[in-house]
């Protein structure tokens, strides 16, 4: 029988130059502290010897065009490419120099997709979507010089309204947990992004966050109060700039009722940075 051997969630712009430029020395120092914590979490991840690493993250309108925006999408196939963009935004410049391709865990991805359809989750599937910083910045920081475990990238539409609900994201996570339990693999899972930034996706509000809301989310995760988290509305997530918390909602479903241990929480002003682990073994 399979098991979930590691679970964590973390902010995904792990790039000191970006915060140095846009926030200043205080921002650079804070993200450097977060990076050190995520590197330390990577030691726990590797010690758990996962056969596969599920990565739950969002598309920054890099991958899926407006021809179709999947609510949730499973990346299938044997390998996945690192996204290459000409004149990439600073977030994605952080990927320069990383490996160009990563192995996928095809069997686990197929089970999540096919058993999901059977169970009523109309997941999209992609054979070709590449990975941007939302996936590779945390994966490369966690893994360091070690090769990444075979990945199962899972996209959540966090930014193009109407997004899936927090409740539906949690239910998708419960489905992934059932697939893991039924399968033969040791599985690690992470969610990335957040915490609050870019409230209401408004250019005028870039540079602000909602620390009170983020402290509330952290408290609910520490107490394991998942019902309160499932009840979060699209309006709350939009107004506070917590769109990417939908990724975390999927992971909360994967870990079930477990309580979170906060490894890092920092209020930067532009964004609140966090890294959280769950006791799953």
């Amino acid at each position: 029988m399979g098991s979930l051997v590691y679970a964590a969630a973390m902010s995904h712009v792990l790039y000191p130059d970006y915060y140095g430029k846009n926030v200043g020395p205080h921002g650079r120092k804070m993200v450097e502290e977060l990076i050190a914590v995520v590197q330390d979490m990577g030691r726990d991840l590797r010690a758990a010897r996962p056969d596969a690493l599920v990565v739950i993250a969002d598309d920054h309108l890099n991958v899926f065009s407006f021809d179709a925006v999947p609510a949730m999408c499973v990346r299938i196939g044997q390998t996945v490419a690192r996204m290459v963009q000409d004149e990439a935004i600073e977030f994605d410049q952080a990927l320069d120099g990383l490996p160009e391709r990563y192995p996928l865990h095809e069997d686990l991805a197929n089970r999540i997709l096919e058993d999901g359809i059977e169970a009523g989750f109309d997941f999209a599937a992609s054979w070709s979507a590449p990975l941007d910083h939302a996936f590779l910045s945390p994966v490369s920081t966690l893994c360091g010089a070690a090769p990444a475990p075979p990945l199962v990238p899972f996209w959540v539409n966090c930014f193009v309204a109407p997004q899936p609900t927090a409740r539906r994201c949690y239910a998708a996570g419960r489905h992934i947990a059932r697939v893991v339990e039924a399968g033969p693999w040791r599985v690690a899972a992470i969610a990335t992004g957040g915490l609050s930034h870019f409230p209401e996706l408004s250019l005028a509000r870039v540079g602000t966050s909602d620390p009170a809301f983020d402290r509330r989310l952290i408290g609910l995760m520490e107490r394991g109060d998942h019902e309160a988290l499932r009840a979060l509305t699209a309006k709350e997530l939009d107004q506070t700039g917590s769109h990417e918390f939908l990724n975390w909602m999927v992971l909360l479903g994967v870990v079930g009722p477990a309580r979170a241990t906060v490894r890092f929480f920092g209020e930067m002003g532009r964004v609140d940075l966090a890294a959280v682990e769950w006791e799953v073994a």
């Binding site: 890099n62 065009s65 407006f66 930014f159 996706l201 870039v206």
Partner: protein, 71 residues
């Protein structure tokens, strides 16, 4: 809901370097076939990112179009 046509154009500006060059050279000509309101068209031509955002243009596109992005 975001405005479809505005975002389709922003996405094309981000992903299609040849179209981006045409837009930089002559924005009005590059937008000739697009189904935009006058207000949307003027926001593109004057590259008023704030206004495009208010009109439904995605923040993540507006901050990441090479040579036009930035925030």
């Amino acid at each position: 809901m975001s405005r479809y046509e505005v975002n389709v154009l922003l996405y094309r500006l981000k992903k299609d370097p040849a179209y981006r060059r045409r837009f930089r050279d002559d924005a009005r000509a590059a937008l000739a076939g697009a189904e935009l309101t006058d207000e949307e068209r003027e926001a593109f031509v004057s590259w008023d990112a704030r206004r495009l955002n208010e009109l439904g243009g995605s923040l993540h596109l507006l901050i990441s179009i090479p040579g036009l992005g930035g925030h």
